[in-house]
Symmetry: D2
Subunit: 341 residues, 4 copies
């Protein structure tokens, strides 16, 4: 069986695992006050060209989103997000559980448009009834989006400008950030992300760690009491150094970017091969998630040898499927899948 | 100046006020354990033909909605509601502040359709990702709706059936319930409401009391610890008898229904007069809220003598306005407005 | 029967009720944007000698406490309060329901001591584990306390200083503020309260209104978005002018202070008469609540003619009882009670 | 340097790590639906003699406590716990952040007494004011306690009986469960824990895993929607199989119990050696945490070679210190420390 269900199906990238093995019996203090965490912070600051950024490590994406958003918003504020946002659909109400509404914007292949954000905010403050409504207190986007698409640099700059003008922070969910940065048609770098977002996170779980997400806060006034906030959210790992060790490894020798490039290259090969055989591409994704519209009998046939997900409800004759690559996908996996179609 | 902004612009209906005056110096125990509250409960049970219903009194609509919804839902559940629902738009995130998501359904002049509710629930449980999503735990509708429209009896029966089949309670926000029951084309009685909803509230604030909403729980298993729940929500009035006195009066001699009929008659007169003069009716409302599309210069002219609200953003040549009647509107007010158009 | 159970057993003070009657049929805009609310705000600012204070009106004490405390605290902070505080014991967890811990201090007849507050804060920050603990973010006290006692001016000044030094706001719950200001041995004025607290509320429910509490925010940076916050907490009354009318009356012609003085005078008379007859005074309260330790057979006998509460569990031979006076207590009530003992 | 600060200073027990290495490149489905998680569940059910127990895996203790407690309590309920409870002191208000009060009981070397729990509940329901208070909805204890002490079997049985009689569930926080089960004077087995608690968790983080806690729910009606609840709390690990692999290893060949016995043997050796040298033992702990009262100059001297924590504020001449052993402590570490004293 070959696996394309998701990018969190295997353990850790071998280099990351090796560092965990090498340091396993060392004793360090807990909760991220160790030297490995410090090392990881320094590597990330350098990679982001943000020497003063605050960096924090949490275990998973949902807890990271909930902690950050809850930490930023005032009680009467909500978070703007595309209707398709992970926080709006697939986090079991974790944001609402902290007391805040997700205010939805139209999504365009997973992206929001700066002018629509601007329009929302303008309309919101148009008349006095806004005092009875949930105020937009920040903007959440993901890079890449749920559909594997990426914002262009000018789209990101426009969003950043709109947020800045409205005095609301821009938060970028980078669960798959490295796959987005590797998009060939893309022109956004990690430094751009750090420059344009007030806070973002660099996903590890889907990019080579056992678990872990690195939050980078570039706006120093934004999140002032992260340790108790993380503790309160159950997001402060006792053996914090495990996250430090893993991210220090990911951010040595460009491993993070290399993992991204590798998986995206495999994904684009897949896309081209499907396309060459006349299958519909549902979203033209430049990253590690590819969406195809396939005949149901081909799907059934593929399912005997490959594991992957239907995307949305099955259709009568054709259905949409998603194939996801990662650092753990091999050229061999890709070749076998191509042979099957 | 004549007033059509809303139905909460004056104090209490004179009969209600008189009872408050008559009982003002009496001493009673607090928190709704007095004889007036008991009297009001009995009158309401009788009017609802629900001798075993639980009846509770709170002060305002938002606190009532938040308390009821928070009391019913499990932590992982949200409340289904039309996109236009008051809880979704105009309660400053009070529902989310209790930790629950408002799950929105398409609205059709403020109403939801039973088949769309059914479809939502079916789709929700279609595949296993629902375990990562907010489960629909109850349905919220209002009667009449934000647009003044009312459900027909068969529409309500269909919604009640869908909820029953899905084992989720149906909650009806009756902030303006009496105006809805008075709709001439309508065929829904208070007893129908009590039979079809698991819980609903009878609005007092907009129907003749100084303040106060009466919650009726007909499903006995639904809300078991209302007193501490109301206290926790800041919704337990110390001088609870004030609500008892007012609702006991409203539910004596059909005052509640009479107020509804009176205000709706005035509103329909208005509608007919605007219609007769060729003005567009935006929603064909059978209740005390009427929505017209008027030329901007007429609006400016009316504003000199009458107070009323724009509905939505102003247009270039025409805008939508709302006129609301209540027990405190007089025939004279209506005649003066008609003379102005 | 004569009533000494509490100070919220009757309706409104006759002058307050009369103003409600006089204004009942007027139409005003809602939510506290009317001229009566403005009038009340101005009267209160003047009485507090705080021309720039923000003033807001809510319906009841629990909702006021929850809204204020939730609005002030950061997510990782809790509220310091005496163990006997109303918010700690008798508000059904309303503060915790907003996500915040009540951090308890020892109470001394309902009061906290400045040096104990100071010590708590010093100890809290002593070692780094504080990052895993709930930070003290504000101090809550009540004036008078749950036991009817009042802080002296120098006690209040010391508390204010400790809070100022620790950069946490001081919040005073004044549910019975007027009875506290009337304490004969007391030397604290409303202006002192306004000068020393960052925020406090002037209770109306127990001091002559049907319902309502007036929040005074003297620290301008403290609470910036009160309207949506109150709305979210279900604490924004639709017919806000009802609170405006009532407080405008209370703060005309010294009615508020006079109510306080009147009820306290009756209470002190009671205390003296019990004392003269050899009964134990449990707490030497200078305000409208009096606590006596009485023989159980006297209690049984009194209960036939007077209504009052046991304070704590009944004892074998003696029990503690509470007698409360208010504007609605008459000299006649007092005389009849004295005759009975 | 030798380390006695805590039991989460090293990585994973070598056998646990080896299984992670062996399975690292395998692809499995996420979120705990894999075969390793199933294996771990089966092993734990067997070890607990509870074939029908539900077993769930989360990442850390605070998130486990918050998820379980939030999932069990009704909105108006709080959790009873000893004043020294981890949830009351060192979880940054995580329980309150879910909306629930921690109701504190006196602690006796970290333990609560059954008769005091019973008394609390009886007193609570004594008069009607309980409707304005937070109802005790469950009991939280830890085994072993914060002070390393353990309940005897009869103490646990009494607590279980009191909870059963009051119809509130008993929850046992087992962050260090294996060290408690290994107490030589103790007579409590894992099967007893499973029989007497309604829900408990078996700590992994401090007992040999990189991270992870296994929740065992023996009362089937208690927690019905754990997957969305865990997701909402940010406690559902994407690569759930990592927890499955680790716990399957811990619960093979008695590794879990052996780790407990090993570390406790080392700790008792330490205790005896300190005792033999005349140093005060502050709490007579039979588990892996030992508390001594040492002269400050000895502490300073030890600190040059050993890492450990002060317990509470430093004293003038003597202070209290804690030494903690774990699977990663060696005989050599113990011998070196003994040589130093």
């Amino acid at each position: 069986m070959i696996y394309f269900d998701s990018d969190y199906m295997a353990g850790a990238h071998p280099e990351v695992l090796q560092r965990l093995i090498d340091t396993n019996l060392e004793h360090t203090v807990g909760y991220g006050c160790d030297q490995y965490t410090e090392q990881a912070i320094n590597h990330i600051r350098e990679a982001c060209d943000s020497p003063k950024a605050q960096v924090f490590f949490m275990v998973g994406g949902t807890q990271t989103n909930a902690t950050i958003i809850d930490g930023i918003l005032a009680r009467h504020e909500g978070v703007l997000a595309p209707e398709s946002a992970h926080i709006n659909v697939h986090e079991a109400g974790a944001i609402e559980a902290t007391g805040h509404k997700v205010l939805t914007l139209p999504q365009h292949e997973g992206k929001v448009w700066a002018d629509e954000v601007e329009h929302y905010i303008e309309e919101f403050y148009r008349d006095e009834t806004f005092l009875h409504m949930v105020a937009p207190g920040m903007l959440y986007i993901s890079f890449p989006t749920e559909y594997g698409t990426v914002y262009t640099l000018s789209e990101l700059e426009a969003l950043s400008q709109v947020c800045h003008d409205a005095q609301i922070p821009l938060y970028i969910d980078g669960a798959r950030l490295g796959y987005g940065l590797a998009a060939k048609e893309g022109n956004v770098t990690l430094k751009d992300i750090a420059r344009l977002a007030d806070v973002f996170y660099i996903g590890g779980t889907k990019m080579g760690t056992l678990m872990g997400e690195a939050v980078v806060v570039t706006n120093p006034a934004l999140l002032k009491n992260m340790t108790p906030l993380m503790k309160q959210h159950g997001a402060l790992l006792a053996k914090g150094r495990l996250l430090g060790v893993q991210f220090a490894t990911l951010f040595s020798n460009d491993l993070y970017l290399n993992i991204g490039r590798y998986a995206v290259e495999l994904a684009i090969t897949l896309k081209n091969e499907f396309f060459a055989r006349g299958y519909d591409i549902v979203v033209d994704s430049p990253t590690n998630q590819q969406f195809f519209r396939l005949p149901n009998d081909l799907i059934d046939q593929l399912k005997q040898h490959a594991s992957f997900e239907l995307w949305g409800p099955p259709g009568k004759t054709h259905s949409i499927v998603r194939f996801v690559t990662s650092w753990s996908t091999t050229y061999n996996d890709i070749n076998r899948l191509i042979e099957l179609i």
